[in-house]
């Protein structure tokens, strides 16, 4: 080995504490990068393969009822390659030993067996026999939640009649990677599932013999999907079409795409922070190393090494540190990616997860880190190479200082000499001081962003489930029903309060913008289901006009006073002009709200409701479930408590994971920055501190100078960290906002405390390590050497 290379290794060993601290920061950055990008790549790969191999459809449409003969007309639409008609129906299930309301969506599979589109992957068991009308395949998450196996029986209330179904298999479909009831906040695997059944059996039960109420299609590559959707809507209009939509608006695919978007944003935000911090640390450490090695550099140059050779020498040092960190990061990142993959697989179901990391991704991460680290150290290396040997061999003159700003404004009088030393040091290298503060602040900010998610979720639950939705259960009807039903429900034993609601699918248009959603008609003086403003105060539903969610308003570019076009997508399919009365804050979903009476008047349907909100005695809940299961009119019941629990269950796991990762990263940045700052300060000032020890200063007093400076940096960094963290949260909330949900911008005091505590704890640990070195200062040695 060349002697200079040996020097690189020895220098590394000599600075091992600092090398480790920097490597940990790089490790964290790389791990975050690999985890997010890797998870995204793996999920994309897994999804794409599942979609391809199981023929995920491109276009979807639901309708009331159409004869099978219509299929031919749909197939003639230019660009359509495969058409499959289906029967899809909601069903209530009666599961032995589980008294709560359970609903499912039943989807027909063709008589010849395998669907052409959205094919089933059978995890266990087999496909149903088309000749038997009681056989069914159930979705995997639902089967797992109840422990169902092939051969088990479940009771289904099909069109008001109870029927025992036999589970022949457990399956997955590309159409239901994520299974979620429409309008739900999060999946509920126990209370909602998918059942696949032979077309004939299902058709008979739902009066769909020779007819269909759902159609899926594949389109030819390059086909104009927009035009196909328009033609579809035209064809289906007469048959009660509810508006066709493309794959990108299909709920499972949509949620998955949202998840990818979050992963990509995270992969952009977090690793960038780490790489910047690491580059800064490398810069500081290398420039310090270079200045302590001034004389060695001079000697090397005197022996005839050129600037390039010396530059390369230090570049090697930097690259080795970076590679060390990257290697650790790749290993940790792949491990985290697997954990994250498992976490995803609990919610998103694929036949199998392909855990893959693209070597190019690793290479890109490596190149980015090495380059930014090299750029960070370029200046220091250049400075080392620039000096003439004679200049470098002379001792450095005493560093130049001046009276600090705080002293100049008159506070100086009350400061002890050690405090002055602290202030002047902080002020002498303003850039370095600022970057150190920034580094620590970033650690604090990272912590804050992780706490932000759980604060946001808590706030969301508080607002959504305790202020806006106050009902115990929501009962949905198969189709709009006379409003009198509200009185029937109110008469049931245990029911305290009932409010009816009407929900109607619509498309809003304003100028060239349009959006497909629903209008909720609510009782204007209702107490159970309210809209809130941005301060969580109830917003009154105007007697006429429509109330829009704030995000929907933005999407459409509408403000109160404007008039929007409302195309009703059911019944008479009329088109109306409706004035926008006001906006309401909406975190989940993107809907419009109207006075129930005004909505019914608009629809010219008479006084009808699509369901009701109920408050009932919790002792009578079970009785009510039993009654609702038997009511043919009731298509499903949703319990508010279950919704809250599910939301927390699903969120909690991923939140815990992200908090764990973020804490790990925040600590590593905090330790990296604080330890390095302390370590560098110690080596720069050991002579000064030893002199003070010689003059009779105690260890504690000397520590104050060094650690006091760090304390000052950390205490300044924390409020800055809060500021940066809050801005990052705003950025994240903005970047992740979609029409599915918006993250409320809430950071609770305990999150601030936690962020500060983690940074302080990391700082204390670093300080203790440095303090141990400080206690071992060699008093005699330092007096003998000049700087």
């Amino acid at each position: 080995m060349k002697v200079l290379n040996r020097k690189v290794l020895r220098d590394l060993r000599h600075m091992r504490g600092q090398v480790l601290a920097i490597a940990i920061v790089i490790t964290s950055g790389m791990a975050a990068f690999v985890m997010f990008i890797g998870a995204m790549e793996s999920l994309t790969l897994t999804r794409d393969r599942f979609y391809r191999e199981y023929a995920f459809a491109d276009v979807f449409a639901s309708l009331k009822r159409a004869p099978e003969s219509l299929r031919g007309r749909i197939a003639e639409i230019p660009g359509v390659s495969v058409v499959e008609t289906r029967v899809v129906a909601p069903v209530k299930l009666d599961i032995a030993g589980f008294p709560e309301p359970v609903t499912a969506q039943m989807i027909s599979i063709p008589e010849h067996g395998t669907p052409l589109l959205n094919r089933l992957y059978i995890r266990s068991g087999r496909m149903p026999d088309p000749a038997r009308d009681e056989e069914t395949v159930v979705s995997e998450t639902f089967a797992n939640a109840h422990g169902f196996k092939p051969g088990d029986k479940i009771g289904a209330i099909i069109n008001g009649r109870k029927k025992d179904l036999v589970i022949t298999g457990v399956g997955l479909s590309p159409e239901f990677v994520l299974i979620m009831r429409a309008e739900a906040l999060s999946p509920d695997f126990k209370r909602f599932g998918i059942l696949w059944m032979g077309r004939k059996a299902l058709g008979k039960s739902y009066n769909m013999d020779g007819a269909f109420n759902d159609v899926v299609m594949a389109v030819q590559p390059g086909a104009d999907t927009g035009r196909i959707l328009t033609e579809m809507d035209e064809i289906l209009a007469r048959y009660g079409g509810l508006g066709s939509y493309a794959r990108k608006d299909q709920i499972s695919n949509r949620m998955l795409s949202e998840e990818f978007r979050m992963l990509r944003r995270s992969a952009e935000i977090y690793p960038t922070i780490f790489i910047l911090v690491a580059a800064f640390l490398l810069n500081v450490v290398i420039s310090r190393t270079v200045s302590t090695q001034r004389e060695q550099i001079a000697a090397l140059k005197a022996f005839g090494y050129d600037n390039l050779a010396i530059g390369i020498h230090y570049a090697k040092l930097v690259i080795l540190i970076v590679l060390l960190g990257l290697a650790g990061g790749a290993v940790l990142g792949i491990w985290l990616e697997q954990r994250m993959g498992q976490l995803y697989m609990e919610v998103y179901r694929f036949p199998s997860m392909l855990l893959r990391i693209n070597p190019l991704t690793l290479l890109a991460a490596t190149a980015i880190s090495v380059l930014s680290a090299l750029m960070g150290t370029l200046h220091a290396v250049w400075r080392a190479a620039r000096e003439t040997p004679a200049e470098a061999m002379r001792p450095e003159p005493p560093a130049k200082y001046s009276v600090s700003f705080i002293e100049r404004i008159g506070v100086g009088r009350w400061l002890s000499q050690p405090s002055r030393i602290i202030l002047r040091n902080v002020e002498r290298k303003p850039v370095r001081t600022f970057l150190s503060i920034l580094g620590i602040a970033v650690a604090c900010a990272t912590m804050l962003t992780s706490g932000f998610f759980s604060d946001a979720v808590n706030y969301l639950v508080q607002v959504q489930f305790r202020l806006a939705q106050k009902e115990d259960m929501k009962v949905a009807f198969v189709e709009p029903t006379s409003r009198r039903v509200v009185y029937d429900l109110a008469g049931l034993a245990g029911v305290h309060q009932v409010e009816g609601f009407r929900q109607v699918p619509v498309r809003f248009r304003f100028g060239h913008r349009s959006y497909k959603t629903v209008i909720d008609g609510v009782e204007p003086d209702g107490r159970l289901h309210r809209l809130l403003d941005d301060k969580a105060r109830p917003v009154a539903v105007p007697p006429s006009g429509i109330l829009l969610g704030d995000y929907l308003g933005e999407l459409l570019g509408v403000k109160p006073g404007d008039t929007i076009t409302v195309e009703v997508l059911e019944g008479n399919r009329a088109v109306y002009q409706v004035p926008v009365a006001a906006m309401a804050k909406q975190f989940i979903g993107t809907t419009g709200t109207m006075d129930l009476t005004a909505l019914n008047r608009l629809l010219k349907e008479g006084d009808s409701v699509s369901g009701a909100y109920l408050v009932a005695d919790s002792n009578s809940w079970e009785d009510l479930y039993r009654q609702f299961i038997r009511m043919p009119r009731v298509s499903g019941i949703t319990m508010r408590t279950n919704e809250i629990r599910n939301f927390y269950d699903i969120q909690a796991k991923s939140m815990l994971f992200f908090t764990f990762v973020a804490t790990l990263m925040a600590c590593s940045i905090a330790v990296g920055v604080v330890y390095n700052s302390a370590r560098i300060a110690l080596s720069e000032r050991s002579r000064e501190l030893s002199s003070l020890r010689v003059l009779g200063y105690t260890r504690g007093e000397v520590s104050y100078i060094l650690l006091g400076e760090l304390g000052l940096l950390v205490l300044t960094a924390i409020p800055l960290g809060f500021l940066i963290g809050y801005s990052l949260c705003v950025l994240i909330a903005w970047a992740l906002a979609s029409d599915l949900f918006r993250i409320p911008m809430v950071v609770d005091p305990p999150t601030y405390s936690m962020a500060a505590a983690v940074v302080l704890a990391s700082a204390v640990v670093s300080a203790l390590i440095v303090r141990r070195k400080l206690d071992r200062l060699d008093l005699v040695e330092v007096l003998k050497t000049r700087e």
């Binding site: 002498r428 003059l695 007093e701 007096l783």
Partner: protein, 248 residues
Amino acid sequence: MVQGEIASRQNHSGNNVVFQVSGLTKVYRMGEFEVHALRGVDMELYAGELVVLLGPSGSGKSTLLNILGGLDTASGGQVSYLGISLTQAGDRELTEYRRAHVGFVFQFYNLIPSLTARENVAVVTEIAKDPMTPEEALALVGLTERLDHFPAQLSGGEQQRVAIARAISKNPKVLLCDEPTGALDSGTGIVVLEALDKVNRELGTATVIITHNVDIAGMADRVINLSDGRISQVTVNTEKKSPQDLHW
């Protein structure tokens, strides 16, 4: 504790002995070798006297000074300061001892670069029991005009005089100087020695100056020669020279 004991001895002790050294040895371990820096030194230092320790490098003079100053511990033998043993003292006691009783002057000044001349002295006066003011101390070394200059703005000789002012500002019983002129040219060196001589005369501080410069020995009351870890010769100057009369 040691502090109080030392104070009472100062008041009641009849004799003038500041340091009593007997059979002092010091062995360093340098890798696999043992270096015998001191091989049995016996000496005394009296109040108010100026002693020059002479000897070639490696003769053990710095080791002796470091042990006297409480910067290093002995391997064997006894050192007592005003009758109190330094050989048994721990880190805390030695820190306290340096803080209250000893002034140090080093070859490379060891000033704090971020503090002005006045503040460098205040570093000591702030923690001392009965110090003079930084201004008084700096006036003693003739630096009244440079009070608010930072080390980077002072010449080598001026920096060393600040160091002397810092060392004497606590009114120490002893002043220990390790090659105080070692980094200076002869003209500047003499100015520094004048400052030390003045302090010795006016404050009566017992002063030990280490040097390998034989000419400096002329200003001492006693000259102690060290070689190979032992005292080889002690000379009492019957006629002390003034620093102005020294040449090298």
